[in-house]
Amino acid sequence: MTTKVIDCDLVVLGAGGAGLVAAVKTADVSRKKVIVLEKAKKPGGATLFAAGLRIKDSTWQKEAGEKVNDPPDISGQFFDWLVSKGGAEKYFYVTKPDDPKSAWSSIHVHDIMDKYKGHPQPGHSPGWMGTYVIDKMLECCGKAGIPILTETRARKFVIDSNSKVTGVLADTKDGQLLVNCKACFIGAGGFGADYEKCRKIWPTEFNYKPMLCVVPRSITGDCIDMAEEIGAAIDLSNAWFTGGASPCHFPYSHSVQNISSEPDMLIVNLNGKRWMLTDDVIKDIRNGSGVNLHSDSLANQPQAAVYNIADSDTVQKVAERCIANESTPSKLSCLKKWREEIANEVEMDETGAKGNHTKKADTLVELALKMDIDPKVFIETVERYNKICENGRDPDFGKDPKFLVPVLKPPFYAFFGHRFTQCTKGGIVVDYDTTEVFDKNGKTIPGLFAGGDGITFRDVKRTKSLEGLTNCVTTGYKGGIASAKYLKSVS
């Protein structure tokens, strides 16, 4: 096997949000030679599908009259830097903070990027904030002359006697590649595409293999294993995964998920029966925040799949509520899409969209047959449920009376959903400020940095509300600054 050797100052593993931001920032600050290795055929990773970004203390927020801190939070610094790369005005707007006391507001894309207009899957598609970050960073990489080697899978760190990272060994299509480096930034993401790893950590939730995994297949946590091999500390005790199981989700239809997770609907499993929902779900229903069937509730049902049943009155009511409560372009485009899908259900089947998620029928028997559920069982369930609704009390499963809506008026609808996995959060233990990687003795490994999904902060707990893209780009940004500083100190 031939081994090619190349030299650089910083090697970045993973061309996703964290990796590219770190690469561009390092090159910006230090003018050092940076190389990015990406295992997949195309750069982008899971970040491509990320939609929104939460930001504090940016110049835009200052101009919008929000109170900002000095010095600004790292997320604000990142956003200002991103804006300085040009073109942001065309796409973004700042939303008001969710909680008036909090200074965190979200930066959203005005509307899906021009290129992706008319996407069959608005909401969970490329074309939002994550795609913008990736596109912009790729553009910057081009300008700064940072090579991105795709289909190059890092396999092993090369370390010297002081356990300092001096290189990375990678597999390419034609052989081996040895990248000699002074520092390395790991931005390779979590392990959401590796079912066995997920199952080991969350045995109950991963009882059934999800029918689909919406994270790119390259996200298997290789670099977490690689780092562990050279003695890095790994902490998965507080790790969690996103995705869980919404009733209907991408790639079925995010629009359907958005709407059919309303608590008014009757939830049945593939046997046509209701089941005991876990406390989390009951709490969600009580708060009216939509049914998010995560945790083990759905995991233990046949095939971990679900049908949400509604009659035409409920469908109408849900749509009206959606218009009254929501004004974001993504939600409204979901509603539009949802209406189209309901109207075209039959047509979609005829053009070959098998496994269609929306079923519509004039009778319950017909609906049951479409869902492939025994009509007798299904009708029993519905009749029992309607009786419960009439009494206004649910002795069977304790559903909140507010959402006990009977299934009476045809046509009837059924929305299919099943478990899916997305990203995992947690992995290599790093410092919050510098993203330096710690070894098992609590010492930093010189020249090794990590960011993105596959990390755990040593002293700071990762907050779920600031996850996803925010964590990804801020750790990349911090890693970029820190590795530039490190490179300066060693050269």
Binding site: L48, F49, Y116, P120, V214, P251, A353, G355
Partner: protein, 100 residues
């Protein structure tokens, strides 16, 4: 020839691996399909198990030759004009290009 084409189109291309289906597809297509379908590029496209189902290929396909089935997208080979747009636009590189 028309018969042969339609029989190919009904084949399910939901995909296990590129190697698994490339060979039978190649054999079926040789000598008949490229010419009949105006396959000037001499390339065929199919969607591999890398697909995350985002449907971006459907957005860009000029011939509406991609459908969404069984949690995956698939290329309807009888409609495909072999232009390679889906191959270029797939955000995760899940579409495979085979030279016939």
């Amino acid at each position: 020839m028309a018969e042969k084409t339609s029989s190919i189109s009904r084949r399910k291309f939901i995909i296990v691996s590129s190697e698994a289906i490339a060979l039978p597809l190649f054999l079926d297509l040789t000598g008949t399909l490229p010419e009949a379908r105006g396959n000037l590029s001499g390339k065929i496209y199919f969607i591999t198990s890398e697909c995350v189902g985002c449907q971006t290929c459907r957005l860009f396909c000029p011939e509406s030759a991609i459908r969404f089935a069984d949690c995956r997208n698939e290329v309807m080979q009888d409609k495909c004009m072999h232009c390679g747009t889906c191959y270029r636009e797939c955000p995760v590189g899940a579409i495979s290009e085979t030279i016939v």
